[in-house]
């Protein structure tokens, strides 16, 4: 706080240390100004702009150099849409306190945007024009203008107030209420908005009362008859406005609704479901076809692989067979050399195939094969015959069977085989073998002898 005379900083004393002026009362007034400022600030925080403007105005009236109050007052005016009033306060504030003043920032904000300033100016001009129209009774023009203003400056409280007043004039009470709600959003205790809003509520209530009152009045009205009244007989038309008819109407309505659903809604729904189903089936078929194709492809691959496996197995088997054949030939050769023709014949007959064998193999094979078989057959035939004669038919059959296997031209061995079967009681094989003798060696003595063992 500074002295009002010499502008020196004041101390706690009630006189100025610089010029000696009595500053007791001055200090009280300044404190009161600050108190008003604080109250104004509280009002601003609770969005009571009208109340805030009063307190802040009071604050600067008490002490004009309260720049805080003046700056805040400018902000309040700005928020209420009074831009020029706001600018005025800030300019005055800046004049009082040129340095370190928030008003600089506010003024720069507006002046640095000349287009916006021009828009503000236009809205003010249009507002004044609208007010002029309203005062002259051109309410429609006033309405049009004021609506334009509020589009450009949606915070202009007095613009809303004028619009609400015009709407009330036109008995548009609901619209007026909505307009006033916008004011109260900006300034929660705006006295004009509250007053107009109460008026609108009253008028709305009155209208509702009149509307409901008219209905009651119609229902309750009864006029008494006098002698001049003409009695008109009631028409035969009966007003079917009773409960049972209502129920019947409801039932008919339900039936009609059900029919609509059944004939219109359900087919469409069914069609939709069917289409979805068909699409699913088609998709399924496509998927199945794809799966089947894949399966066939896999099967082909499997078959090919199996073929390869078999080929490999065949090759393996063939290799094993070849190895076995080589072993058998070697053994047969060794037995041939040792004179065991029967043993050698057994070995060499174990070689089932000579395909793919080498030349040396085939040379040895061919050299010993026929000899082995012939000699083995002869030996076996001898031993078999001896066994028949000695009554050892089992040995005889075994040896003679081998003998005829190795040498099918040995008639004696074949005959003795049939004899051995016959003697052992096996008449069937005896007959079969005897027929073979007759067939293979017709006209021979063996054929004659074999006749004895043919079963007729």
């Amino acid at each position: 706080m500074r002295c009002y005379k010499c502008d020196k900083e004041l101390s706690v004393d009630d006189f100025c240390a610089g010029c000696g002026a009595d500053v007791g009362l001055f200090k009280k007034i300044v404190r009161m100004s600050n108190a008003y400022y604080n109250m104004g600030l509280e009002k601003v925080r609770s969005r009571d702009l009208s109340g805030a403007a009063e307190y802040l105005h009071g604050s600067v009236r008490l002490y004009k150099k309260n720049t805080d109050a003046r700056n805040l007052l400018g902000l309040v005016y700005f928020e209420m849409g009074d831009v020029v009033e706001a600018l005025s306060e800030w300019v005055i504030s800046k004049n009082i306190q040129p340095a370190d003043n928030l008003a600089d920032h506010y003024i720069d904000d507006i002046q640095n945007n000349p287009a916006h300033l021009e828009v503000i100016n236009q809205t003010i001009k249009k507002y004044n024009l609208a007010l002029n129209y309203a005062q002259q009774g051109n309410y429609d023009l006033a309405l049009i203008q004021i609506k334009k203003v509020l589009t450009l400056n949606p915070k202009m409280i007095k613009g809303y107030q004028l619009l609400a007043l015009l709407q009330l004039k036109h008995n548009e009470f609901e619209k007026a209420k909505k307009t006033l709600e916008k004011v109260l959003k900006i300034d929660s205790t705006n006295p004009v908005a509250i007053r107009y809003s109460r008026e609108a509520d009253l008028e709305i209530a009155k209208r509702e009362e009149r509307t409901s009152g008219k209905k009651k009045h119609k229902q309750e009205e009864r006029t008494s008859l006098n002698g001049n009244d003409v009695i008109i007989p009631p028409s035969k038309y009966r007003d079917l406005n009773n409960g049972s008819v209502t129920i019947i109407n409801v039932v008919i309505g339900i039936l009609i609704g059900a029919a609509v659903v059944f004939f219109l809604v359900t087919p469409a729904r069914t069609k939709s479901i069917r289409e979805n189903y068909n699409a699913l089936v088609l998709q399924y078929d496509q998927d199945m076809a794809k799966v089947t194709a894949e399966k066939e492809d896999l099967q082909k691959q499997l078959d090919a692989l199996n073929g390869q496996v078999q080929e490999i197995q065949g090759q393996t088997s063939s290799n094993a067979q070849m190895q076995a054949a080589y072993d058998a030939l070697l053994q047969a050769y060794n037995l041939y050399k040792s004179g065991d023709y029967v043993g050698g014949a057994d070995k060499i007959t174990a070689i089932t195939s000579t395909d793919g064998m080498t030349e040396p193999f085939m040379a040895i094979y061919n050299e010993i094969h026929d000899t082995l078989l012939r000699e083995a057959a002869s030996s076996l035939a001898s031993s078999g015959t001896a066994a028949v004669n000695s009554g050892d038919y089992a040995t005889a059959i075994a040896n003679l069977s081998k003998a005829v296997l190795y040498d099918a031209t040995n008639a004696s061995a074949l005959y003795n085989l049939s004899k051995a079967y016959y003697s052992s009681g096996d008449l069937t094989n005896a007959s079969t073998t005897a027929n073979k003798v007759i067939e293979l060696f017709p006209g021979s003595s063996w054929a004659g002898y074999a006749q004895n063992y043919v079963t007729k």
Binding site: Y4, D22, L25, F26, I29, V30, S33, V60, R61, L62, Y63, K64, K65, D82, V84, E85, L87, S88, V91, I92, L117, I120, N121, I124, K125, Y127, N128, L131, N132, A134, Q135, K158, Q161, L162, L165, L168, K169, V192, R195, Y196, E199, E203
Partner: protein, 49 residues
């Protein structure tokens, strides 16, 4: 019911930007402190006399 004519009289035209300068210049720069101080000075003057 509101009296429209009475209500409309309460509305005043807004200051336009061009008019702001005049408004600032016409601003009554005396506040309460100045008035009080003037009154005190006058009272002291009277007492001296």
């Amino acid at each position: 019911m509101l009296d429209f004519d009475e209500e409309i009289k309460k509305f005043h035209p807004s200051l336009e930007v061009e008019e702001a300068e005049d408004a600032i210049y016409k601003y009554n720069s005396k506040d309460m402190t100045e008035v009080m101080m003037e009154m005190l000075e006058e009272m002291k003057e009277i007492e001296r006399q």
